[in-house]
Symmetry: C2
Subunit: 465 residues, 2 copies
């Protein structure tokens, strides 16, 4: 416990390193006093404690105020306490019998989240799942079952050819779901986006009509409220109109929380990941669906050894048969506890803080001459995408030569950044855009001075490129 508390203190200290990088082969071979090898005989307790300390030492401090690599960052102390308590309780969400409090907490959280999505008092349903990608998989699974309930027993062989639609900027999880569910990635149609990364409704409609002409069934659209790279919001109302017109299931993959009230009341299902902007420790993802009973019907197998119908309590609380898992980790308690400690209002404040930092960065980038924005628009989410242009490159005119060199800048800076361990930010190419940095904010410990530090650090590490 002392080792952990010490680590937490160091994590919050902006002056400490974000990471102490070593290559995979170095860790495999073993560092001084830290061997990962497993033996037949036990090792002494002192060694175990040293191992714990070293595991943290050679890891990455995701709660560090200068860690911007992923949208899940920060280390909320109440959330952490919640996770420690869940680990201590060490139970399983499949039945009320062995997780009574957590099962009821899940119901209360789902109800609260439904209200916030804007479904009001409608009898809605949902489940907490191991991550956003699995939540999105649930959305395709349930949409398919709703339209073709025979899928459960007969499989895809009994179905007509179906098509799913996502924007070209959406997360890869829907494609992954199509591969897993036996639909096939070819049947995931990419809808075009505008410059800002928002799905173009007219292209969606055109593509729906196209598959209909091929006698395929347009089944499902996944819209995104905050895309992974650009942080863009698809035009939900226009998409909802098209879904209604052609009878498609509308799923929304939601990143934001601020103003989520009424954000997507027209959606049939929603993925909401509290482990992102709400700062809940990993993992905490909810799949919400606006029709009660659908998840249960789609997934239940009525295993006799778990879901005995002759129990003495109301067995509708044995929610484990709604999932594609059997045992399920308790991910609800940390969220519930944070909600108690912060209130809905506290989450709003938290997210507004991240949004303000994004605006600050956007303005800074606009005013600094060595940086270029990937698209010049006020951030809607906490994402800000930009290139650093080293002095040598500024002299080269726009064109393929410059693009080729610029493509190498971000990876080189990132490599140096990791070696030095001073900060971490992600980069990637996207469509026809060469490698650029993507900043995301979600850590309440981050200050404007950390943003300044990042920009200066990029300049320092990249000026000779």
């Amino acid at each position: 416990v002392e080792i952990l508390l010490n680590y937490i203190k160091k994590t919050y200290d902006g002056k400490s390193k974000v990471l102490d990088f070593h290559h995979p082969h170095q860790l495999l071979e073993g560092l001084e006093g830290f061997s990962l090898e497993l033996r037949d005989q036990p090792e002494p307790l002192e060694q175990i404690l040293v191992d714990c300390r070293d595991t943290l030492k050679y890891g990455v401090k995701t709660g560090h105020p200068r860690y911007f690599n992923q949208l899940s960052s920060g280390l909320d102390i109440v959330g952490l306490a919640g996770e420690w308590l869940s680990a201590t309780a060490n139970t399983n969400m499949f039945t009320y019998e062995i997780a009574p409090v957590f099962v009821v907490m899940e119901e209360i959280l789902l109800k609260k989240m439904h209200e916030m999505v804007g479904w009001g008092e409608m009898e809605a349903d949902g489940i907490f799942s191991p991550g956003g990608t699995i939540s999105n998989l649930y959305s395709v699974l349930v949409a398919r079952y709703k339209r073709f309930p025979e899928i459960k027993t007969k499989g895809m062989a009994a179905l007509p050819h179906i098509s799913l639609f996502v924007s070209e900027h959406s997360h890869y999880s829907v494609k992954k779901a199509a591969a897993v569910l036996g639909i096939g990635t070819d049947n995931v149609i990419a809808v075009k986006c505008d410059e800002r990364g928002k799905m173009i409704p007219s292209d969606l409609e055109a593509k729906i009509l196209k598959v209909k002409r091929q006698d395929h069934i347009p089944l499902y659209v996944s819209a995104t409220a905050g895309t992974t790279v650009y942080g863009a919001f698809d035009p939900l109302d226009n998409i909802a109109d098209i879904c209604e017109k052609y009878g498609l299931w509308m799923h929304v993959d939601v990143m934001l929380f601020r103003n989520i009230f009424g954000l997507s009341p027209r959606a049939n299902s929603v993925t909401w990941n509290p482990h992102k902007l709400m700062g809940v420790p990993l993992q905490c993802s909810a799949f919400l669906v606006c029709e009660k009973g659908l998840l249960q019907a789609c997934n239940q197998m009525c295993a006799g050894y778990l879901f005995q119908p002759d129990k003495q309590y109301d067995t509708t609380y044995d929610t484990g048969d709604k999932t594609i898992q059997c045992g399920r980790h308790v991910d609800v308690f940390k969220l519930w506890l944070m909600w108690k400690a912060k209130g809905t209002r506290g989450f709003e404040i938290l997210i507004n803080k991240s949004l303000e930092l994004a605006e600050y960065l956007y303005k800074e980038l606009n005013s600094r001459e060595n940086f270029e924005l990937v698209f010049d628009a006020e951030p809607e989410l906490t994402n800000v995408c930009f290139w650093y242009i080293p002095p040598n490159l500024r002299r080269i005119p726009n064109g393929p030569e410059r693009e080729k060199l610029l493509h190498q800048v971000a990876p080189k800076i990132k490599a140096r950044m990791i070696e030095e361990g001073t900060t971490m930010v992600s980069y990637q190419p996207h469509g026809d855009k060469v490698n650029f940095f993507r900043m995301v904010f979600s850590n309440p410990a981050t200050r404007k001075s950390d943003v300044d530090f990042l920009l200066e650090e990029i300049e320092r590490l990249g000026k000779d490129l």
Copy 2:
């Protein structure tokens, strides 16, 4: 932290209650000083601490020596420390970049587990997943991809009719996988078992031949080394012979660890759940596959924002694209730490202890006249299945009347047990057998006196039925 340590002390105390039962509506309405409701405004820290205490108070002590309800029981203090550290590190398994130590630990654990399965130095592969049901889903997914790689892009529409085989006693997870993957539960063929619950190889072969006559493709068999209810071991060698003869993928769902060396070297894939008999905190499940690269090929989507090919380290360590998830919880550290602390030998001792308790219970049941075994054979795993026959029932001759009454005995005793909170054991019907108790052991804190207590408690609670 103090609240948690106090709870741990109480959990180990055999004299404390296992649970303090309340009905769902009672928890929903709120108990004295414990309201689950969420508000807009934050609540004071003292209230949060009270909430933590109450959450534990109204939960189930799964580490209690008299908790036998599920195969995951016990509370290993090193494992718990590992889970606390993982929570504190709060990172994600998708890339080496942000989880260097944990990614390498996963590789080391998988390698160790491969050796133990008996695959030796073969280039094997695998992944830790959120539970055994998802691990079993991976096995079907990978078997299907191996035979028909076009599934990933084209979906089930491009495939012939395929069939999966499981024993009628196997876990429901393969049926669940078939529903999810678009294969359909009708295409999961149940193979008959003998009295002891073992798959009958000749029935497997007959059923394979039958589907071949229908021009379906027999694709996959899941054998079980320790079934959920009976704890039976399918005859793996005979099944492997049949799989080789007809070209089926052989998966083994493994419960046991003792003598696992060489248990299933002929399997193509294995599910191994350290959160069961090895006593690792929930969740910790591994899917192992004997062909390197298959998982990656089956599941990868090459998302540019995570799996940049131009990183400065060996990106084959970015193992996140092998999964059907995107973000993935760190489930490896607690297992690694326990392995360090216990050694392979320590796990053997742990499991032998549980097996001895099962043998003790088996002998006790044989010698007590108010109990009847579901099948009279020495336990192969820690499962022991039995009926309690109340005095009133002993007077009724065997027949439908007695069966009907006996069916109600276990649920009634279980209801009383839960109300009193003294112990917990599972019951279920199975095939043509009416409700019986299923004992499983995995908690090292359990003693023979706890087994005696359970039997006496069942008699006390059920003697008037």
